[in-house]
């Protein structure tokens, strides 16, 4: 008799557990275990126009061609980040894909983890998404096509995107729309850059200190050298090709190291 009650209670508990488990499993929380002898390093991207802070919509800027413009959108991919130093220490970020949205400061700070302890004086990264990830099917996270940075009719990522308004633009509503992409052959806009560290300065990753490298990302560079951009002539780019390449050739020198905190 007592046994029957015990059995019943057990059944209730078992049932309750099983029943609730079919509704929702506890979310898996995986905390990465830091490897021994590694630390972290932060990259900050400060989006600017020349020497002015970048302000969306309300502030007017002037490009190298003396065209006036306001900014409504600025997004770009940073990928394949590599740190190294002169004594052969190298760190390559694992699954290194980041979408920077200048209107969302949380996306402008990249936290690199698992960095071997040491002093670094060289960094390189790609502006855009490497060709492999452009041909490898459905991606997630920063590369999710839902981020609006993927061309569905001509597969490939929009590596960088500037949208704004300029009275000089002859497009409808004076819009300037530069969607820069293309990853293969003559249409390749991918740029790997290595902004130079200030002389004698290193980023020193220690067990207790996370150094911060501050980059200036200068939108003005999109529109100047080697080719000054006149918005009356070039105002709409939404496919790979010569015009996209022209802008990418311009912005290859948009990134410079402002300072480093250790």
């Amino acid at each position: 008799m007592k046994n029957t009650f015990k059995l019943l209670s057990a059944l209730f508990i078992f049932g309750a557990i099983t029943f609730s488990s079919c509704k929702k499993d506890p979310d898996e929380v995986t905390t990465p275990t830091p490897l021994p002898n590694t630390g972290s390093l932060m990259l900050h991207f400060e989006n600017m126009v020349g020497d002015s802070a970048l302000v969306f919509n309300t502030k007017s800027y002037v490009n190298a061609n003396n065209d006036t413009f306001n900014i409504t959108t600025l997004k770009y991919y940073i990928s394949n980040i590599v740190l190294s130093n002169s004594s052969g220490l190298t760190y390559k970020e694992n699954y290194s894909y980041h979408l920077i949205d200048a209107s969302d400061t949380s996306t402008c700070e990249l936290n690199l983890t698992g960095v071997p302890l040491g002093n670094y004086n060289h960094i390189s990264f790609m502006i855009g998404v490497d060709s492999a990830k452009n041909v490898s099917g459905a991606q997630s996270g920063a590369l999710d096509p839902a981020n609006g940075m993927f061309w569905d009719w001509n597969s490939g990522y929009i590596m960088s995107k500037f949208e704004g308004v300029s009275p000089q633009s002859i497009a409808a509503n004076h819009v300037v729309l530069f969607h820069i992409g293309g990853f293969s052959g003559t249409n390749n806009v991918l740029k790997t850059v290595n902004p130079i560290f200030p002389s004698g300065v290193v980023a020193s990753v220690t067990a207790s200190v996370t150094p911060e490298i501050h980059f200036k990302a200068d939108l003005a560079e999109w529109f100047t050298a080697p080719a000054n951009t006149a918005f009356s002539v070039l105002n709409t780019i939404h496919m790979p090709g010569a015009n996209a390449k022209k802008i990418a050739d311009n912005y290859v020198d948009a990134f410079s190291i402002e300072h480093i905190h250790n």
Binding site: L8, C22, A138, D144, D152
Partner: protein
């Protein structure tokens, strides 16, 4: 007393079993469709497929989820158009008798909806080859304003909020959260399983069927005059060709993607498997019958700078040879494929 307890015990057990099973019930799909043998078969003599579900392990649950998504009109802005609307199973997943796609709000597309089968052997998709991976192909029609007209963000939200999908995503991918990646991977599993390799021609090649005199003659003429582009066993060479439809191109085709003058006016060479089931023909659906298509190749080819060299001066075929080729093309229809219940619409009553 003991007996009473036993009855209570049994009763409670029964209630629990019912309660447990109730979370399996799918409120939308009433008919259980089969999902047997979900693995990719490479037919004898075929090349290795380009897409072999690398990074997207093909499973029965993934296939079932992909099938539901393929036929779900929620992927369109106003819940009226599904992938299956323009890709009908009975027409080898083409849009029978529709020159161009009929999309949302009765809007017309620019091009003929292609048949869907043997997609894992294709390297690029769409008539212009602009899409480079089967997994990202659905992004185009979902967001195209004249097809399904829905942002991928909205599509993901709708599917996330539809509780009938919760278990399907869990079973297929162990996922609570719906993402575009999982939707696309599931769709790729369904689409990749659409293999058509059981036509009368295939049975003939295996020694299991005979072709009559007309079909056999048609096959021989085909091999001599058509096989360069429509290469057996897949009946396409996967290239882009200008087949002389126009002198001035309204649609630049492949040229829109590559921006190369040499590609202007070229379109993907379509497979001719199931061709008798997939009228109308050409990228704009301008020909209604196979006879019209052959007439074009014999006497309608128009000259232009990018015209395929094989077609300069047209293809020489007698009226009888045309009939024999059509007899042969009919042997490429795969009735097993168009009646395969695994590929049916799960929402159909």
């Amino acid at each position: 007393m003991k007996k009473y307890k036993f009855i209570l015990f049994t009763l409670l057990s029964a209630i629990y079993i019912i309660a447990l099973n109730s979370c399996d019930v799918d409120p939308v799909i009433k008919n259980e469709l089969p999902a047997n043998d979900i693995h990719l078969v490479i037919p004898n003599g075929w090349p290795y497929p380009h897409y072999n579900f690398t990074g997207n392990v093909l499973t029965k649950d993934g296939f079932i989820l992909g099938r539901k998504l393929f036929y779900d009109p929620q992927l369109s802005r106003n819940n009226t158009i599904s992938c299956g609307s323009c890709h009908q199973h009975f027409a080898a997943f083409s849009h029978l008798d529709h020159k161009v796609s009929h999309g949302i709000d009765g809007k017309l597309g620019n091009r003929n909806a292609p048949a869907l089968f043997n997609l894992n052997w294709q390297t690029n998709f769409m008539w212009d080859g602009g899409v480079n991976n089967i997994e990202v192909q659905p992004l185009g029609p979902i967001s195209n304003p004249v097809e399904m007209d829905q942002s991928i963000v909205n599509a993901v939200n709708k599917i996330q909020n539809d509780v009938s999908y919760s278990k399907l995503f869990k079973d297929a991918f162990g996922a609570e959260k719906v993402t575009s990646q999982l939707i696309l991977k599931a769709l790729a599993q369904f689409m990749g399983m659409l293999v058509s390799s059981n036509s009368k021609y295939d049975l003939y090649k295996q020694g299991l069927a005979t072709l009559n005199a007309s079909e056999l003659n048609g096959l021989n003429i085909f091999l001599a005059k058509c096989n360069t582009c429509h290469t057996a066993p897949l009946f396409t060479n996967f290239q882009y060709k200008n087949n002389g439809l126009d002198t001035v191109y309204k649609d630049p085709g492949r040229g829109r993607i590559t921006l190369l003058e040499a590609d202007s006016g070229t379109f993907k060479v379509p497979s001719l498997r199931n061709v008798a089931l997939t009228r109308p023909y050409m990228h704009d659906g301008r020909f209604n019958t196979l006879s019209q298509v052959l007439d074009h190749y014999v006497s309608g080819v128009k000259n232009s700078t990018t015209l395929s060299s094989e077609l300069i001066g047209g293809v020489i075929l007698s009226p009888l040879e045309k009939l024999d080729i059509i007899s042969f093309l009919n042997t490429l229809s795969d009735n097993t494929f168009i009646h395969d219940a695994r590929f049916n619409d799960p929402f159909a009553p």
